[in-house]
């Protein structure tokens, strides 16, 4: 098992290198560069640039080199110095921009992930065990609705309802006081309260998807011969549900872990903008719009790395769950 994990970790290196190459290539594809968009936005405000100014800016930012040279320099910086480049928008290093929001982003993602599984697994199991009951129909209805509703729409609706009900506007994770006075323990309850809406909104679509998967898988498992064998042996229904059905049913759910990690991370951009969340998604969007290429590249690459690591984690979890996978790895 350790050998397998080691092998997988080694494979990560070429995978990430290739991903970084593709990312960089795609990001520089649109015509123009940061200077073009910078000049355009300042010209709109009445600034006048001469050709010489523009050339100087280009020279300064190293934008005159061909893209593969830029890529090479970028990678060299990352590998040798851990330097992810310079963010033109923020005027400081990319890493410091990312670090501003990294922990919050990961925290939000992680909590949402836990929320999704904690809510959807029991509901999925309930629906399978009570197929075609009123409860099953209600949850199925909510499940389809949740999957079909765009998150940002849900965000707007929920914020509207909360405003109607409480008269409070919950925008963002931090209140004005928090930002002014800095975080302290007295704000924790309010902070947690402010987390609820994003948690609910961003978590819903994933939750509903998992409910459907778990339900279908559990129903499938219940018709298996070994479920019948277990019942004929005298096992209780709880043993059958949790020991026999659930463990097999988890297989595709765990495989989907990597995907849902990514969905939360990048898919929540629009909702994050609507809810004014201080997480990575909106920064990425702004960086892409202004062709702040090192920042955009680094954020996309972080996501890619997260997905790759998520996949590794889900593979390890699968091997732990299913002896057949465990053994085929050994051989």
């Amino acid at each position: 098992m350790l050998k397998y994990i080691g092998k997988r970790l080694l494979l990560l290196i070429p995978t990430i290198l290739i991903i970084s190459f593709v990312i960089f290539f795609v990001i520089q594809l649109p015509p123009g560069d940061y200077v073009t968009s910078y000049v355009a936005s300042l010209s709109a405000q009445g600034e006048v640039f001469t050709e010489a100014d523009i050339a100087y800016l280009r020279e300064q930012y190293g934008l005159n080199d061909p893209w593969y040279v830029q890529y090479f320099n970028w990678m060299k910086g990352i590998i040798t110095k851990g330097d992810f480049g310079y963010s033109f928008n923020y005027g400081r290093s990319v890493w410091s921009v990312i670090m501003d929001r990294l922990f919050l982003t990961m925290g939000v993602s992680f909590v949402i992930l836990i929320f999704q599984y904690a809510v959807s697994l029991p509901i999925g199991i309930y629906c399978a065990n009570h197929q075609y009951s009123a409860g099953d129909y209600i949850w199925s209805f909510i499940g389809f609705l949740g999957t079909a509703t765009p998150n940002f729409l849900l965000a707007i609706l929920v914020m509207f309802w909360v405003y109607k009900a409480t008269g409070q506007v919950y925008l963002g994770l931090f209140s004005k006081e928090m930002l002014q006075n800095g975080m302290s323990w007295q704000y924790v309850p309010e902070f947690l309260g402010r987390c609820l809406i994003p948690l609910f909104v961003i978590g819903t679509s994933g939750t509903c998807g998992i409910i459907r998967t778990v339900r279908a898988q559990m129903l499938d498992e219940q018709t298996r011969q070994y479920t019948l064998t277990a019942r004929a042996k005298g096992c209780s229904e709880a043993t059958i549900t949790y020991k026999y059905c659930l463990r097999s049913a988890l297989n595709p759910v765990v495989s989907g872990l990597a995907g849902s990690l990514n969905t939360i991370f990048s898919g929540s951009t629009v909702s994050a903008i609507v809810m004014n969340l201080q997480i990575q998604g909106p920064v990425l969007l702004a960086a892409l719009k202004s062709q702040d290429m090192y920042l955009a590249g680094t954020i996309v690459m972080t996501q890619a790395v997260l997905v790759v690591i998520g996949m590794l984690l889900s593979d390890i979890a699968l091997a732990w769950l299913d002896p057949r996978i465990r053994f085929s790895e050994r051989g």
Binding site: R231, A232, K233, G234, C235, S236, F327
Partner: protein, 353 residues
């Protein structure tokens, strides 16, 4: 206990299980399908009853009804009287299928082995874990003791290297070995009745013979009764004391295995036996086959279920009322007007109800 009950001479007095007028309805989209239409049989101590019939005649449903493990869509009525330890004589159909009582019967007093051993074990757990689960449920919670008991029964069914095999997963077993493991799991609690639902159908012929041999030996050792479900008449001849032939959810002929083979009466039984290939016969003709197909057990017309396919049918009799099992002597019972004579007026009225 009754270690030395001889298979060939069953203890006539003690009936282990009695099935009385068992009916099973299945709800399907098109309506209600009556898959089992009043089955009667009993099994005595140490005896093997063969339940024979083609696919879809209700034999598997009947056997699963005994354990109460049929699908929720199946509704069983009638009586299955079993003399259960701790419960006395109970009608198994009246027990809550999810309740404690039936679970104390399942696996301990009545256990079952299935047709396809390859899918009868969960791929997620070791064979040992799954056999031991039965031991722990019904015999002892003590980990060491239960493992010993489980290993012991694994050795008894002829699993070599049982200690090593105990920790292996189903995908590391061959089909024959899995069937042995399944038998071990069924026998670990020394049940009174073993239901074997086509236990050798999915295995190749040499393994079949081994498995049957093991079952016979273990029956001698444990003194249990067996309900042997199969469509393989060759297997029945070697395994069973008595045979019940099922057609379209009903028993159409029952008697001792010797009787049925030597003197089959019901046209369906005759057809079944005629369709078995016999080695050494000079007959160059095609193997006999029964014409037509089994009708769907929904909105059945009046009369005998076999009427359309029967070579001996009597018009105006067989398609008017359904024959009941009639004893022709020595316990050989047949449900056929052509064999037992036309029904009297009273019986006709009853069957028409």
């Amino acid at each position: 206990m009754e270690q030395d009950v001889k298979k060939t001479v069953p203890d006539h007095d003690e009936t282990i299980i009695e099935v009385r007028d068992l009916r099973i309805n299945i709800k399907v989209d098109e309506g209600t399908l009556t898959a089992v239409r009043g089955v009667n049989f009993e099994i005595k101590k140490g005896e093997t009853l063969g339940l024979v019939g083609e696919s879809g005649c209700g034999k598997s449903l009947t056997s699963k009804a005994i354990l109460g493990i049929n699908d929720k869509k199946c509704k069983a009525s009638g009586e299955i009287i079993f003399d259960a330890d701790g419960l006395g004589r109970v009608n198994l159909l009246e027990l809550d299928p999810r309740g404690k009582e039936i679970r104390s019967v399942r696996g301990k007093q009545i256990s079952m082995i299935f047709q396809e051993p390859m899918v009868a074990f969960s791929p997620m757990y070791t064979i040992g874990d799954q056999i031991n689960e039965a031991t722990r449920l019904h015999i002892t919670k003590d980990k060491k003791k239960s493992k010993e008991i489980s290993l012991d029964v694994m050795k008894k069914v002829g699993i070599a290297n049982a200690e090593k095999r105990y920790n292996q997963y189903p995908h590391e077993f061959s089909g024959g070995m899995l069937q042995r493991a399944l038998i071990a799991m069924a026998l670990v609690c020394n049940p009174k009745l073993l239901i074997a639902d086509e236990p050798t159908t999915a295995l190749d012929v040499t393994i079949q013979a081994q498995i049957l041999e093991i079952m016979k030996e273990l029956q001698k050792d444990f003194g249990m009764s067996i309900l042997f479900i199969t469509h393989d008449l060759g297997v029945v001849a070697g395994m069973c004391d008595r045979v019940a032939v099922m057609y379209l959810g009903k028993v159409v002929e029952t008697g001792t295995a010797a009787d049925i083979y030597a003197n089959p009466q019901h046209p369906y039984t005759q057809g079944l036996l005629g369709s078995v290939h016999k080695i050494g016969t000079k007959n160059q003709d095609k193997l006999f086959s029964i014409e037509g197909t089994v009708p769907v057990a929904m909105n059945l017309p009046a009369g005998c279920g076999f009427y359309e396919r029967c070579g001996k049918r009597i018009e105006g009799v067989c398609n008017v009322s359904e024959p009941e099992l009639v004893d022709t002597g020595c316990g050989h019972k047949i449900a056929c007007f052509a064999c037992t004579g036309c029904p009297n007026a009273k019986k006709e009225g009853k069957a028409n109800e």
